[in-house]
Symmetry: C2
Subunit: 338 residues, 2 copies
């Protein structure tokens, strides 16, 4: 099943069911006006939404609307929780290597996670807004899950059934603000501006056999200014799977429906700089920081610059048949209009 949120209808937008090919959609006010409302009562809403989805796929409705991602907000325009892991430890290891530090061994067994702001996400086709290019604007392409209610202390295995929906996310980072914030010891804050999620959230069954072991086994495709920049496999080198990330969150507190948990920047372990870029036959990267880390490790300093106003980012994922699973996140970097 595929769900999206149109911007019309207030701060939480309007929930629509989208057909599998992403060509059409239909509002479902009699079932749930918003995605959060559907998640609040998922056992009741899910089978009803699924009926609409099947009918949409079979062309049963005369009054279906064309689906246009530009009209979409993020599936949850605002959420009660957005917690982002760093499940691709390769990425974390590169960060450390670039500054000459060792990766603590427990990073392979205990997830790194930060709590992000969730009050004001932006839409999948909205600009990445910043007041200054000097902040070091970077994309971070990730996979995220939306969760149902989970009790405190739930095991990872027991967390797995609470995964309701999958999305893609551009978890924008302001790289030049990170060192100062991390030095203060409390983690990211100003260095993490508003994230954007894919136009469509999908139930795991849409992935078929590519959803297994709590991971999405498909390449995540990233373009910068229409050039292929990365296509690492989201199922490869994901050290902690989604149920493990959920269990990390709920070790000391309950989690309520509608919480979003991210994978961290998707990153595949590759040999070296020359072998890792798309141009050189590698799978590329999901953030600019990663290529800059390879550059730093191999040449002493980064060569690639962060995003500038006017730069465009596209993040998407395809089935083996080349069909877009989530629709594309397509954002242009722009100055904040104030």
């Amino acid at each position: 099943m595929k769900l999206a949120t149109l911007k019309q209808g207030g701060r939480d937008g309007t929930l629509v069911v989208v057909n599998r090919s992403l060509s059409h959609c239909r509002a479902v006010p009699a079932i749930a006006r918003t995605l959060q409302a559907a998640l609040d009562d998922w056992d009741v809403s899910e089978p009803q939404l699924r009926q609409v989805y099947e009918a949409l796929n079979s062309g049963a409705f005369n009054d279906q609307m064309p689906f246009d991602p530009v009209l979409c907000h993020s599936p949850l325009p605002r959420a009660y929780q957005w917690a982002d892991g760093s499940a691709y430890v390769n990425h974390v290891e590169l960060v450390r290597r670039a500054r000459g530090a060792e990766l603590p061994p427990e990073f392979w067994t205990d997830p790194l996670m930060y709590q992000g702001g969730s009050d004001s996400f932006v839409g999948p086709c909205d600009p990445m807004l910043a007041l200054s290019e000097d902040w070091g604007i970077d994309l971070e392409a990730e996979v995220a899950v939306i969760i149902g209610d989970v009790k405190m202390g739930t095991s990872a295995a027991q967390c797995a059934p609470a995964i309701r929906l999958l999305m893609l996310v551009n978890d924008v980072s302001l790289r030049n603000l990170i060192p100062g914030e991390l030095a203060k010891g409390f983690g990211f804050f100003q260095s993490k501006p508003a994230s954007a999620f894919s136009p469509v959230a999908i139930t795991p069954d849409e992935l078929g056999a590519d959803w297994r072991d709590g991971r999405v086994h498909r390449p995540l495709t990233v373009h910068i200014n229409d050039q292929l920049f990365g296509q690492p496999d989201a199922g490869t080198d994901m050290v902690f799977n989604f149920p493990q990330l959920v269990a990390h969150v709920t070790k000391t507190r309950e989690m309520e429906a509608g919480s979003i948990i991210g994978s961290g920047t998707v990153s595949n372990k590759q040999g070296d700089l020359n072998g890792s870029s798309i141009a050189n036959g590698g799978v590329g990267y999901c953030c600019l920081a990663e290529v800059r880390m390879y550059e730093t490790i191999e040449t002493g300093k980064p060569q690639t610059s962060y995003l500038k106003f006017g730069d465009k980012v596209r993040i998407e994922m395809f089935t083996t048949d080349g069909n877009s699973l989530f629709g594309a996140i397509e954002q242009e970097v722009k100055p904040y209009p104030g």
Copy 2:
């Protein structure tokens, strides 16, 4: 104006207006079913809610309900943002001194802030639940504000009018989990379980002249097991005021209505251990960690233990006439029932 949320009526509860003396309340479904709904459209809802408040205070309703904090959830049972500052830098300095570290000078000019979980707060009279006493369960008594919409890059002065409501909060910390988490470099996560807020949220005008300079100039009263433990003044030694904390959050992103910003543990600068405790004529503390830091600095190690199952915490604030402003947070530490 005073507002509260009864637990009945779904995940977001039911908004009620409470009279000034906290004896009676009244649901206002024709104005707003929930506090978040009122905040989403504050310019419209606020004057209507205020009319009900004035009528309640003058005893104009025959059908008002008795107000019982035990029936309350936190004013926002779940919120789209909960960001907590460390505005009482004295507390941060003590933390550092206790471990023999210097406070970086920029801590006096750049707020420390962490993003907390906001999907599942607990009610003001609900237990503080933990799976283990070994986590080092500590209260943290604070003041918090609920904010309206704020644009990115807004100055502190311009943030001031966006402060909608004030609350008290028990921002529970699991002290024994903190060192490991901070060592990982991403800040708090598992060490911050569910917070509880005061039964009532109040508009700043309820404080009269005690709300000035973006600070609440009243003592915050903390009891542990019915013994007075602290009554520091929340307006004293608050290095960053609330508008400054809001401006910190919105430096790189917009803030949406219903976001909660906390002051951090209230802490007044005092001479030494002997002079700081209530028994010795000091103003006491708003968390156990603080007395343990004085003990560490002066005797080499902490003497006071963290909270145990069965311990009770009460946090409140009074007018000069001795009337409770927010109602009391009254929580007992209990094992999580699973």
